[in-house]
């Protein structure tokens, strides 16, 4: 029954549903699928962290926390960020615990976006950036990075995209879906332009712990950048806690205050048991991160070399748990490739085109899967490609 009138807001009506959804629906109906399509760790949250949440429930810690999160958790986050990434934020007024990095992105974007403001989004990227900007009334200006530069944002591309309306740039390194990482020198070039034009950076550093070749440099550590950076991080990837929905923002007091206003009205506070689990993760969980990272690194090496061997050109990405091989040699679009691969060989990958400009001609393969799954996937993809050649 409808009244014949659409009540849906125009900004929502015009949004495209996430391209990943379509694939999920298709893959979910099939049996025996080897999935390289998963954007979350194959590790289960380590037992001590789960145990800490259980214990908090047993003790009856089931009420709201402060809007910004448990103060002991914010203290741990402050210490962790300083220890791991050399950035210093006050637990009292510069850190907000959020419902996943996704919500952190939302409050960061909403806190700084006036109607008509342009936010530069570097693609290929996580699917939510541009829609969140549009929902906040801003305009997402996209820059497409390319395979030739290993999907690294080029300074001249950034210069060319800046207009008087540009407010901020949204960066994600190590990157989902390309795995690309920027080193300190490359980040410095970006930071120089940001400062020159007096812009802000929203730095989604959710994969910061998963940098394999050199330690991750946070853009906030560069000279003059702390005051113009909103850092976004969380527990999902590093501590294998995706389902707990727990992230956080680190930003100067004024911006944090603005984000906290949105957070307190829209969310109140992040889930309390998850926050207790996160305290344990930061106090005792780092060793587990290191051991997961070791496994990921080996799988990355294996996958990149194997893909290159079977004829899918692939650069060695510095972080996250994705590789982004080119499928252009097959003559298929990335969507055709992914669909045929799924139907014919039962391997799920995500077409690069869903991640925006620059993604066409590539597929995202996640190595958050056991080695035996990766070996099986390579066997099937190899078979698929040989069939195509014959």
């Amino acid at each position: 029954m409808t009244t014949g009138k659409s009540y849906i807001a125009k900004s929502v009506e015009s949004m495209r549903p996430s391209g990943i959804r379509k694939f999920f629906d298709l893959a979910a109906t099939m049996e025996g699928v080897v999935s390289l399509g998963v954007g979350e760790p194959d590790f289960v949250t380590s037992w001590p962290i789960r145990e800490a949440a259980i214990s908090s429930l047993e003790q009856g810690f089931t009420s709201y926390t402060a809007n910004a999160g448990l103060i002991e958790l914010r203290r741990e986050i402050s210490y962790y960020m300083s220890n791991r990434f050399l950035v210093n934020y006050s637990p009292q007024d510069e850190i907000i615990v959020t419902n996943g990095a996704s919500q952190a992105l939302d409050i960061a974007i909403r806190a700084i976006t006036d109607p008509g403001d342009e936010i530069i989004v570097v693609e290929p990227c996580f699917v939510s950036y541009a829609p969140l900007v549009e929902l906040a009334g801003g305009k997402a200006v996209t820059i497409g990075t390319t395979g030739e530069t290993e999907f690294k944002l080029q300074p001249e591309q950034l210069e060319a995209a800046i207009t008087p309306k540009t407010k901020a740039i949204l960066l994600c390194y190590p990157n989902n879906p390309t795995g690309t990482q920027l080193d300190t020198a490359e980040l410095q070039l970006i930071a120089n332009i940001v400062k020159k034009h007096d812009l802000l950076v929203i730095a989604d550093e959710i994969y910061a712990e998963l940098a394999y070749d050199e330690d991750h440099t946070s853009i906030a550590t560069l000279d003059g950048m702390r005051e113009r950076t909103i850092l976004i991080n969380g527990f999902s990837k590093a501590f294998a806690m995706t389902g707990w929905r727990l992230g956080f923002t680190c930003a100067p007091e004024e911006i944090s205050g603005a984000m906290l206003k949105i957070h307190q009205y829209a969310m109140m506070c992040a889930s309390t048991p998850a926050q207790y689990a996160a305290v344990e993760a930061l106090q005792h969980g780092i060793a587990d991160v290191e051991s997961m990272k070791k496994d990921y690194r080996r799988r990355r090496n294996y996958l990149v070399q194997s893909l290159n061997e079977i004829g899918l050109d692939c650069h060695l990405p510095g972080g996250a748990f994705y590789v982004f091989p080119s499928i252009q040699s097959t003559g298929l679009t990335s969507e055709q490739f992914a669909e045929q691969l799924l139907l014919e060989e039962k391997v799920a990958v995500v077409p690069g085109s869903v991640f925006g400009e620059g993604g066409e001609g590539y597929i995202r393969c996640s190595y958050a899967s056991s080695m035996s799954q990766l070996q099986e996937a390579i066997k099937r993809i190899s078979h698929f490609i040989e069939k195509g050649r014959a």
């Binding site: 998963v38 979350e40 996580f126 080996r298």
Partner: protein, 166 residues
């Protein structure tokens, strides 16, 4: 013996799964296959890789009656050879699967595998406790194996992740 980083990586990989092919290990750690083969051979020769075995859950076999016992053994160490001599006398028995020198209230922890409880009882009373240096033995029979060498025998943990996610 000093090991380099790559050799340690090879050991970590093989310790989890001895059936990894050298070609795959080579890809995982960024070396040529011949290099990996050479390193593995050296680790075998140096007895750092002692042996490759298969972890078997015998309890799944119908009518399996085998039993495992862990025996705490107190011994009198001998002048000059300490605990080594008696440990050697114990580990030579084929039914003994492991012998460790322990800190604490007893000295040797001995694991014995047998076809039945009787067989183990006979081993303890006739072979082990009759050794000169053995002062006392306490035998514990294993009732069920949940986890061994880092592997959970009957794991309920499945992959609950959705097949495709952003």
């Amino acid at each position: 013996m000093k090991l380099n980083e790559k050799e340690v990586e090879i050991l970590e990989i093989l310790q989890k799964d001895a059936r990894f092919e050298a070609s795959d290990i080579a890809k995982m750690i960024g070396l040529a296959e011949v290099e990996v083969v050479k390193m593995i051979r050296r680790l075998e020769e140096e007895k750092i890789i002692v042996h490759y075995a298969t972890l078997v859950d015998w309890a799944k076999m119908d009518n399996y009656t085998g039993v495992t016992a862990m025996i705490d053994v107190k011994v009198t160490p001998k002048h000059g050879v300490g605990f080594n001599e008696v440990a050697e006398r114990i580990y030579r028995f084929k039914e003994v699967s492991s012998v460790y020198l322990m800190s604490g209230v007893y000295d040797l922890s001995v694991t014995v595998e047998g076809k039945s409880m009787n067989e183990i009882a006979r081993f303890v009373s006739e072979k082990l406790s009759t050794l000169d240096s053995v002062v006392s033995t306490t035998t514990h029979f294993q009732l069920k194996k949940y986890k061994h060498d880092g592997m959970i025998y009957t794991s309920n943990e499945q992959d609950h992740r959705i097949v495709v996610s952003p």
